[in-house]
Symmetry: C2
Subunit: 344 residues, 2 copies
């Protein structure tokens, strides 16, 4: 290992070939005779040479980087998506730049500028907002723009996306509760602006309506985080619901906390069902019944979709729907005969 990384020129000189040949050995080895190839490779190994990415990127107009923005990086759900995306990206020769937008449109725009500036080749965003500064690009390139959405499928965005069937998943959750005998069910949603939350709500209402229990649904608007869910749960308990469906496991955690605080017990007095199947969900008290999303796979497929676009591959599907799964643990049970009443 030399003090400074050698350039392709030095490698070429040492191997007694031109820089073009060195470059070819590294990127299109089949074009080079075996003799030459081995000689060059030996020099590369000796010197520890690695191509300068800036020069390469300048010449090729490719950055070999993908920007992945998440609305809240401290949300465990996104962590798994990121992991899946990183793995897929590495497989495809890209690295991932993770951007935490903190739900801030201004920050979203800042990150989106990296795409305009060609600092990254493509963008995957897990929120529901397409950054404003990308509108011209979308208008120009449409579906061929190197932009992919994860989770928050929204047809009017016109962006390829990877997601589960949120309405169906939600219907499964409600169906599970109704099947257990619940008739008064609380629902804690995500923000109203979130398409994902709207889909889930539609699915829940639909399932309840089909069972003739539309009026048994008590809906509260949450924001996927635990704090507000605690408040909503208190409120729902006052409505004598026997079960609560939270649109995220974090909110389910808040619900369990509120149920305990109220002197009630889950699932004896109130059942709780979550959404996401976080790694910790099985360690909740009681272990949480929830809808599992294939988090890592969502990350992986968004990257694959994006890489297809970057390579100009005509992918058959620009909307990928992955399977969800209802994971039944111990936080759901048949309701007690008499409606639960809060003690103390």
């Amino acid at each position: 290992m030399t003090v400074l990384m050698p350039t392709i020129i030095e490698v070429a000189a040492l191997a007694g070939v031109s820089t073009a040949t060195v470059s070819r050995v590294l990127s299109r080895p089949e074009q080079v005779s075996e003799d030459t190839r081995l000689r060059v490779l030996a020099v590369v190994r000796e010197t520890g040479y690695a191509p300068n990415v800036a020069a390469r990127s300048l010449r090729t107009l490719r950055a070999a980087k993908i920007l992945l923005t998440v609305p809240d990086i401290s949300n465990a759900f996104f962590a798994s998506v990121i992991r899946g995306a990183e793995e897929a990206a590495r497989d495809a020769g890209y690295s991932v730049v993770v951007g935490d937008t903190r739900h801030d449109p201004e920050v979203e725009d800042q990150y989106a500028d990296m795409l305009s500036r060609r600092e990254v080749d493509g963008l995957i965003f897990l929120g529901h907002r397409l950054p404003a500064s990308l509108a011209p690009l979308m208008a120009r390139r449409g579906i061929a723009a190197p932009i992919v959405n994860g989770c928050e499928y929204s047809p009017d965005l016109g962006v390829p996306s990877v997601h589960i069937d949120n309405a169906a998943a939600s219907a499964d959750a409600i169906g599970h509760l109704i099947g257990l005998g619940h008739r008064r069910i609380g629902v804690v949603t995500g923000p109203e602006i979130s398409p994902i939350s709207r889909d889930r709500l539609a699915g829940a209402i639909d399932a309840a309506t089909r069972a003739g229990l539309r009026d048994g649904l008590h809906i509260r608007v949450g924001d996927y985080s635990a704090g507000p869910a605690v408040v909503h749960t208190r409120d729902l308990l006052a409505q004598d619901v026997t079960a609560i469906f939270c649109f995220s496991d974090e909110m389910a955690m808040g619900a369990l906390s509120a149920i305990g605080d109220a002197g009630l017990s889950c699932p004896n007095d109130v059942s709780v069902i979550g959404f996401d199947d976080l790694p910790l969900a099985r360690y909740f008290q009681p272990p949480l019944t929830t809808i599992a999303q294939p988090k890592a796979m969502i990350g992986r497929r968004t990257v694959e979709l994006l890489v297809d676009i970057l390579r100009g591959v005509d992918s058959p599907s620009r909307q990928v729907t992955l399977d969800h799964e209802l994971i039944v643990r111990s936080s759901t049970a048949a309701p007690a005969r008499a409606p639960a009443r809060r003690r103390r």
Copy 2:
């Protein structure tokens, strides 16, 4: 917004100046007369021009990027550190590339190569291993190498780092339990190889020894994750401990789960204390007593340290110790008079 991003040459032509002047307007505005500056800025705004980062990076040998590797991105603890790092990086004009090494030395090496290749300007690693491929760089540049560690302070690494006083924090936790009257205390540590875990263990043993309770400490080696902590907790309950100190909140969650499974209750039968103060810790059942680490601040300070190094600033301190705090919630209480016995 034109179809293709214009180059500095076009901007220069439109503004009737040389490319040098455009460049100066953007990076050293004080060197340019106000007239010219305003004229150039107007053209920049009109055309939506932004410098090509590859060209800039090629010329300046700076990538304006920092690589941040974490051993496990799905661990909520790291999420907060990442967020702090990203914010600080953006403040300093850098963006952060997050790498998830999954505790895999090979992946660590792959990421470290990005530094050798000058793909990033510096590296922050949150694990305890300095990637092997960086040894030559460290040997050459020593403390001036653009490498910083977060959390896992290890003097022999010779790398600047940002961390809390883990031994003292751990002693605080044990002191809290002893103060409540606990005499048989379980400790679930991190992996033996983790310096952070060793420091915490040393602090715990030290505190117990000072109180004459060295023999009351029952130590089990965990790995910061919930699963193994469940098993260790079962084991510790069989030893009739009245309190358990876990070196991470995730493990505390596992402990709580195991305590519930054993038909015991926290804190009545067994107290539990964690480490990290994850955002969700307050929603555990019961709300978790834990040691708070300034997670975001750790991220922020690592970046600041690294940026100082990159700028050649002679920072006074290469080891930053941040404050921790014992957060007392409801998972710790005085032990019951009679030693807890497992029911059923």
